[in-house]
């Protein structure tokens, strides 16, 4: 029998183990991955059909529509972040695991982003073409979405952890997250608009980057605390 004083695996091992398991689960159930992506693509392609194909209008509304669709797609996928683990009891096992909970929570958030945030970034140029976006602006769009989806996954993990024990917590989760997610949306959409209008946009990127750093350093601890509270 091993003694408890024996060397624990490093914290990176716990993070990677959780991420790997969640990616494996997503691989076995691709529907979960495709849902937010499908939603994102639907909204972005239906919008031009509804408002009409005038190029001026599409150029103006493009960044906003793409960003709102990305935000909503992320919100939709957040509910599932801890739900499956809560239902089969593996969340309880994570809570009594010898690894620090914030690290495990970060691992879950990382896999959530890789599964539902990163694919949005990858297909965004394709959808941006519908809005007659130039290649340069597409680059800015991808960069803001990259930073923005990381923020949304991190902030969302706090909300998902708080509402994990509730039935039908999706509405509450969205309400909790929206105030925190609003700056991300404003910064993201406006930065892309500025870039489209050939204006200086770097400030927005830096601000989003700062938001990522702040969320990355605070969210895992908040998520861990929230998980402990909602699993009492």
């Amino acid at each position: 029998m091993s003694d408890s004083s024996q060397q624990q695996p490093g914290i990176l091992a716990g993070l990677l183990a959780v991420t790997r398991r969640d990616l494996l689960l997503a691989w076995k159930r691709p529907g979960d991955v495709l849902n937010p992506l499908f939603f994102f693509a639907m909204v972005c392609t239906l919008f031009p059909l509804a408002v009409g194909p005038s190029p001026e209008q599409l150029t103006v509304s493009g960044p906003g529509v793409l960003w709102v669709a990305a935000l909503l797609a992320t919100l939709l996928s957040l509910n599932a972040l801890f739900m499956g683990d809560h239902e089969d009891g593996s969340l309880d096992q994570l809570l009594v695991s010898p690894q620090p909970l914030p690290v495990l929570a970060l691992g879950k958030t990382l896999s959530h982003w890789l599964i539902s945030g990163f694919p949005l970034v990858l297909i965004s140029p394709l959808l941006a073409m519908t809005y007659r976006m130039s290649t340069d602006v597409m680059g800015v769009l991808m960069l803001t979405l990259l930073l923005g989806t990381i923020c949304l996954s991190l902030l969302g993990s706090i909300g998902a952890a708080l509402t994990v024990g509730l039935h039908r917590g999706t509405a509450l989760l969205s309400l909790l997250i929206l105030p925190l997610a609003m700056p991300v949306l404003l910064l993201g959409a406006n930065t892309v608009s500025l870039a489209a209008g050939n204006e200086v946009y770097a400030t927005g990127i830096w601000a989003l980057g700062a938001y990522v750093v702040a969320a990355l350093s605070l969210a895992p601890f908040a998520t861990a605390a929230a998980l402990r509270i909602s699993n009492e």
């Binding site: 091993s2 398991r21 593996s90 010898p98 620090p100």
Partner: protein
């Protein structure tokens, strides 16, 4: 000398009702703590409290004489919890599930093949757990417990869904674990037939 695992003055209030008040226990290596009580009497709650997942109204759990709340990670490294829900992923197979668990713990010197053979699940290694019966899934959860190779076992109704042989096997495994100097907290409403020092807590 203080016992390895002790609880002092534990009180838990759930809503309007008080599940237990001023409860205490002391557990030494090789001993079994048996939690007895009717359904809803607070066996699982006490177990969750011991695992540090539930904050108590009053009282404290001590591991090696130090409050668990002050050394949560060390304590969690020394225990494994066999909960009512298995905590295994139905979409993954046995090997994938156990590999995840073992990645979180120090490398234990336990042979997976031998454990699976003992538990009668060696042939089910490549099947997703979803397709196994409830009893077989419970055996996989037992395999996880054995693979962890830690001194303290928390077992919440370990006999659920198991056939007669399975129940006997759980008792044998527990006896062996206790004989090696391990400790066990067991909640059950059936009688257990385990040859060891048994301390009882009636809830």
């Amino acid at each position: 000398m203080t016992a390895k695992l002790t609880g002092k003055g534990l009180t838990l209030i759930r809503g309007e009702s008080c599940l237990f008040r001023g409860l205490g226990f002391a557990l030494n290596p090789g001993e079994l703590l048996l939690l007895e009580g009717q359904n809803g009497s607070g066996k699982t709650s006490l177990m969750r409290a011991i695992a540090g997942m539930l904050s108590l109204e009053t009282g404290e759990i001590y591991w090696n004489g130090v409050a668990v709340s002050r050394q949560r990670q060390e304590f969690h490294g020394a225990l494994v919890w066999l909960a009512h829900r298995t905590g295994l992923k139905g979409d993954l197979n046995l090997v994938e599930n156990l590999r995840f668990e073992s990645a979180l713990r120090p490398q234990a010197n336990v042979d997976l093949a031998a454990v699976c053979k003992r538990l009668g699940i060696a042939k089910l290694k490549r099947l997703p757990l979803r397709s196994l019966s409830a009893g077989q899934q419970r055996r996989v959860a037992l395999a996880r417990m054995l693979m962890a190779d830690v001194p303290l076992w928390l077992m919440d109704e370990p006999f659920t869904n198991l056939d007669r042989e399975g129940r006997k096997l759980v008792m044998e495994l527990t006896e062996e674990h206790l004989a090696k100097g391990g400790m066990c907290v067991l909640a059950a409403h059936q009688d257990v037939d385990i040859n060891a020092t048994i301390k009882r807590v009636a809830l």
